[in-house]
């Protein structure tokens, strides 16, 4: 087994667990804080090693601290995730069976949508079609609010998409469950819920990936078919736009 756990590792894990999702710079600060509190050797560039020590101890428990990239701003985030699906993990008590069914139906809508969003109207229309038990619209609204609070979904102007926390934990599950219906980013090859899609060949890219790729190009072209990239990529100065 790899390096041993210190109180700093345990403290870091405890906070990460209760944070649900932790932004990269916050995790780096927390790393320093934990090492200082528990008087453990600290090196600012050793966060990944620090985490892999914890992960080596979490592995037999089918848990992991996993890193993922936000589809909105491209920043790294960390979350403690569960990797197992067993009779024990099914005992989770956070949501009722009916709430979980609504979540999965919502996930269907989001993943099968063009842009990675599902409108609240469409989701609420599912509420009275649940197999487990019909849900009133008001009830469903409340449940959606909880999913947003718990960071499984995020909401923008009445449209819902998967939160980065959800993508970090469920990427493998989504890719295998939805197979070729789940889109992948043409640049980083990971799951893409919200993506920009090429009008001529249909490939998709994460917004932050596209932004990076098109940086410095005056006339963005699709990396696959070389057609003019018609989606507006905020953060990229293109021809004709103000500089």
């Amino acid at each position: 087994m790899a390096a041993h756990m210190t109180n700093a590792h345990r403290r870091f894990l405890q906070v990460l667990m209760s944070n649900r999702i932790t932004e990269g710079s916050e995790a780096r600060k927390l790393h320093q804080h934990c090492c200082e509190t528990d008087k453990v050797y600290y090196a600012h560039d050793k966060l990944d090693d620090f985490i892999s020590t914890i992960n080596s101890h979490l592995q037999p428990l089918f848990m992991q601290i996993r890193k993922g990239i936000s589809e909105d701003d491209g920043r790294a985030h960390y979350a403690v995730v569960n990797l197992a699906e067993t009779e024990v993990t099914k005992m989770a008590s956070d949501y009722t069976e009916m709430e979980l069914e609504l979540f999965r139906k919502t996930m269907d809508l989001i993943i099968l949508s063009e842009n990675g969003f599902a409108s609240s109207t469409d989701i609420l229309n599912l509420a009275d079609q649940l197999k487990t038990k019909k849900m009133k619209k008001k009830e469903a609204e409340q449940v959606l609010k909880v999913f947003v609070e718990d960071k499984w979904l995020s909401e923008k102007n009445g449209e819902y998409t998967l939160h980065t926390r959800c993508i970090i934990e469920m990427e493998q599950y989504i890719l295998s469950y939805y197979q070729d219906l789940a889109k992948k980013c043409n640049l980083c090859h990971s799951l893409a819920i919200q993506s920009q899609v090429c009008e001529s060949c249909g490939i998709g890219m994460h917004l932050p990936c596209a932004r990076k790729y098109f940086r410095g190009q005056t006339e963005p072209r699709c990396p696959k078919c070389n057609e003019f990239w018609s989606c507006d990529t905020p953060g990229v100065n293109r021809m004709g736009s103000q500089t």
Binding site: V81, E85, K90, F103, Y177
Partner: protein, 90 residues
């Protein structure tokens, strides 16, 4: 000096729950506004707690508990797995 001596007097050391409640309200940042003579809306209480009052109390409270953090997840909690995987219909 004098007050301290009074405090140490055994008669004084009974627990006064009203005073305790007042101190808790003060800690939570109660806004004690004077009751105005010309009070036209009788439903409005003379004082009110800010919305984050119990949040503040909770933050303080956690210093006194050895509470274990809890682990939450979504993956692996689905009770019924649909046997048919989603595939593109062509």
């Amino acid at each position: 000096g004098k007050e301290k001596a009074n405090e140490l007097h055994s008669e004084m050391s009974a627990f006064d729950s009203t005073a305790f409640a007042e101190d808790l309200l003060t800690f939570m940042g109660i806004n004690r506004t004077e009751v105005e003579e010309t009070n036209d809306s009788e439903d409005v209480p003379a004082d009110f707690l800010p919305s984050h009052a119990w949040q503040k109390m909770g933050e303080e409270a956690l210093k006194y508990f050895r509470r274990a953090p809890t682990f939450h997840y979504m993956m692996g909690s689905f009770k019924s797995e649909s046997p048919v995987r989603k595939q593109r219909i062509e």
